[in-house]
Symmetry: C2
Subunit: 152 residues, 2 copies
């Protein structure tokens, strides 16, 4: 398949012109880099903004580190690079986690849910800190009665 | 505070008429049931649909069981009832998980993220099955090369 043809098919998919079947939602595409890339189709179109939530979980401890969103492009970039790559809603751009802070997330495993509209990245958190506040996890506060209390 | 006054303030908040400060995003409201209810304000308005993602995680094993969404009302209902209560995007209604299947989720702890726009429910999964497919977790498929493989 030519790169042009692959790009056209990718566009068609992005525009929802080929419906995705839940059970066989797999397609093989060439990546824009030219090498073979398998893209497992997720249900991006289910949300108004075309994004799917991704939960980053420490691959050893099981701690939930953060929740962010992926676009179709960040999903492809994550699969291709092996590093968690999200879509920044505030900056409206592809965001490889850690590109600025150095706290990259090496993806060890990816789990996809029954509806193909949420994923879990099992990651090795480089630098040990997922949160921009310097905490290990973004979920460092716990509901305690009517208030929140920091637990870490 | 009268129930009427509480209802008015709740409405005002729901309409975003009182900006929420990140650091002190706590308010005490009376619930519609009349008893005192503390509602910790989340950033529902950050998404187009006014929903916040909630990750249900097994409180003992750390396994991520499912991801669903909460509205302002389902958040209040979860805090008040102690059972995970979501917003069904397909049915557009409050959805206490397990009301039909019996597989309720008893909430043991709730963690809130740094931006107040995602939560983790640590739950005891009644019946041991979170997924409508009968699986323990909705995340029962794993990316393996260009395909998905069931792991459970």
């Amino acid at each position: 398949m030519s790169r042009h043809r692959a790009a056209v098919e990718y566009e068609q998919k992005a525009n929802g012109q080929r419906p995705v079947e839940n059970a066989k939602a797999i397609s093989i595409l060439e990546s824009y880099s030219g090498r073979s890339l398998g893209v497992i189709e997720l249900q991006f179109e289910k949300s108004a903004d075309g994004l799917v939530p991704a939960v980053a979980q420490d691959y050893k401890t099981g701690e939930v580190l953060m929740l962010a969103y992926i676009s179709r492009d960040s999903w492809a970039a994550t699969l291709e690079s092996g590093y968690a790559t999200y879509w920044s809603r505030s900056r409206q751009e592809l965001w490889r986690k850690g590109d600025t802070s150095g706290n990259l997330q090496r993806v060890k495993d990816i789990f996809v849910d029954c509806d193909l509209d949420a994923v879990v990245f099992k990651v090795e958190q480089v630098g040990g800190k997922a949160c921009h506040t310097g905490k290990r996890s973004c979920f460092f506060r716990k509901v305690a009665g009517d208030t929140l209390t920091a637990v870490d």
